[in-house]
């Protein structure tokens, strides 16, 4: 006799949407597979890449259809005896049958990446996603938690390597994960401890051969590792959502320091796409200007094309408009390397484009970028001027402002006065 009040065990361990095993069923299967005398079988953890975007763009019914179809593809790539589970959201797990070799496991992982990277046709819509897969690595006597941790670290590595791929757990991933956690902890403390500083790179008017401003560049005075460039910590800052707070500090500090300069030069400050998502940028800029006394026209905000694209559903245009009303200049950074269309550029109140450093050594690209800038009535800055030939080329093209090692390296705030003084002496001589 079965208890009529208690559903059969199988019902409680099935994911209703996909019909796969659910998280609980997976944990049970894993425990059974690891019970002595069994050796741990290979475990795959899989995330769909860009699933959230599909949900946002096409709606949840299409998102659900995608999960069901993806589950079908995963099932089609495994063998009888392998357990496929949906752990939640767009996370799946495949517990491979006992005796599966590492090579077989890798083949299956690659096959999953291939299958899930193929287009999906959902209710007449073509949807393209991808997947990242992490593979555990056999270790005698490993327990369930450690096996999941391995596959999870490998999944994290697969994503860090650019997604759309499978990665197998290696011991170094453990070290990397620990280093990253340490970095995150130190990074969270860096702002309150005052460890960030701004360095300033000169911007030269190419016709007058005179410094007209500086671009503020973020540095982290790390207690143990010295002065760090943004590449060493900004990706983690973005990942843990510290960028808005750091970015606000950069705006305040940049305005404050620029207001103290001996000449009324401009300061250019970079704003990340993540600083645009909550719509508070105009208020932060207004406060930075008010606090410092810096007039709006002396501040130039630089954004990359990503800021225009990443901001799905965010009113970037309205925020730019309000900045423009404060007299703040807007510049498009790394121009020519992103995906912004000309139509998009024309829609935003930019006054300047900064032509990416990769074009400075290529006369044709330089001309094309300059042409676009001119056609849109924008001023131009050339970045990455490192050789006399670059300087001659961009000056010849009629570029207004130049920036690069040849013109001046980034310097500490305290070095600006002597730098400007020296320039004055030189001009006077």
């Amino acid at each position: 006799m079965t208890d009529p009040l208690r559903p059969p065990a199988a019902v409680t361990t099935v994911d209703h949407l996909t019909g796969l095993t659910d998280r609980r069923g997976f944990m049970d299967a894993l425990a059974a597979a690891l019970a002595p005398p069994h050796e741990a079988p290979p475990l795959l953890l899989l995330d769909l890449d860009r699933f959230k975007a599909v949900n946002d763009v096409h709606g949840h019914p299409v998102g659900d259809a995608l999960l069901v179809t993806a589950a079908g593809r995963i099932r089609s790539a495994v063998r009888r005896g392998d357990v496929v589970a949906r752990l939640g959201g767009d996370e799946f797990a495949v517990l491979l049958g006992a005796g599966t070799t590492d090579a077989e496991a890798m083949r299956i992982a690659d096959r999953l990446v291939d299958l899930l990277g193929r287009p999906f046709l959902l209710e007449g819509r073509v949807v393209q996603i991808g997947s990242s897969v992490g593979l555990s690595s056999a270790a005698p006597g490993i327990d369930a938690a450690a096996l999941i941790k391995q596959a999870d670290l490998a999944l994290y590595a697969a994503k860090a390597r650019g997604r759309g791929r499978a990665a197998r757990f290696e011991a170094s991933m453990q070290d990397a994960a620990e280093a990253r956690m340490t970095l995150e902890m130190e990074l969270r403390a860096a702002l309150p401890l005052g460890q960030f500083v701004l360095h300033y790179q000169p911007l030269m008017d190419l016709k007058a051969r005179q410094t007209v401003g500086f671009e503020a560049l973020l540095r982290w005075q790390h207690p143990g590792r010295g002065l760090l460039a943004p590449g060493a910590f900004l990706p983690v800052a973005e990942e843990v959502n510290l960028m808005p707070a750091i970015g606000a500090w950069v705006l305040r500090q940049g305005c404050r320091e620029a207001a103290a300069w001996t000449a009324p030069l401009k300061v250019s400050i970079n704003v990340a796409p993540s600083q645009l998502v909550d719509g508070t940028l105009p208020a932060i800029v207004a406060a930075a200007l008010a606090e410092s006394g810096l007039p709006g026209p002396r501040l130039e905000i630089e954004v990359t094309e990503n800021a225009l694209i990443d901001a799905g559903g965010v009113d970037v245009h309205g925020q730019f408009q309000r900045l423009a009303e404060m007299g703040v200049m807007l510049a498009l950074d790394d121009f020519g390397t992103g995906f912004a269309s000309l139509a998009q550029l024309g829609r935003y109140p930019f006054q300047r484009v900064k032509i990416d450093r990769s074009f400075v050594a290529d006369p044709r690209m330089m001309q094309a970028a300059m042409g676009v800038g001119r056609a849109l009535g924008l001023k131009t800055t050339a970045e990455g001027i490192e050789e006399a030939t670059h300087l001659a080329a961009v000056t010849g093209e009629g570029c207004e402002i130049g920036q690069g090692y040849l013109i001046g390296r980034p310097m500490a705030a305290a070095a600006i006065s002597p730098f400007l003084h020296a320039e004055e002496q030189h001009d006077a001589a």
Binding site: R73, G124, R125
Partner: protein, 140 residues
């Protein structure tokens, strides 16, 4: 209801089909499955790539395409066309093999997957090429 009909055209890289016997088997199973699902279409293939058009009720095209997607004998699928349509272009074919037409076979035989992708053959172009080829071949 004219808008109930859906058409899909894609190209993909041939990663597992090598001889005529395998092609015959593939066509036979495709025709069986398509006839059952009310899907019609045409197929071309050479050593490097497949090109296929599927048409029928949308859910049927969805599921036939999904079955094809899971086939390990091809990869790098690129969808060239996905549209609603008032009528079928291959009404008499569960799956026409456009390669029966010598001219189409010859034209397609030289196509390399990379070239196809590079030239970004428009879906409509592929469609009319298959249609011409099938038009020259009488229904069996």
């Amino acid at each position: 209801m004219p808008h109930d009909l859906f058409r899909l055209a894609y190209i993909s890289r041939n990663t597992g089909l090598s001889d005529a016997a395998e092609l015959d088997a593939l066509l036979a199973s495709a025709r069986r499955a398509n006839a059952q699902a009310d899907v019609t279409g045409a197929l071309l293939f050479n050593r490097e790539c497949f090109a296929q058009v599927l048409e029928g009720p949308m859910p049927a095209v969805n599921s036939v395409f999904e079955r094809i997607q899971r086939d390990p004998r091809h990869g790098d699928v690129i969808i060239l066309l996905a549209e609603n349509s008032p009528g079928r272009r291959f009404p008499d074919w569960a799956m026409a093999y456009a390669g029966e037409d010598p001219e189409a076979r010859e034209r397609f035989a030289e196509m390399r997957f990379a070239d196809l992708r590079q030239s970004a053959v428009a879906g409509t172009e592929l469609l009319s090429m298959l249609e011409q080829a099938v038009g020259r071949t009488l229904p069996a």
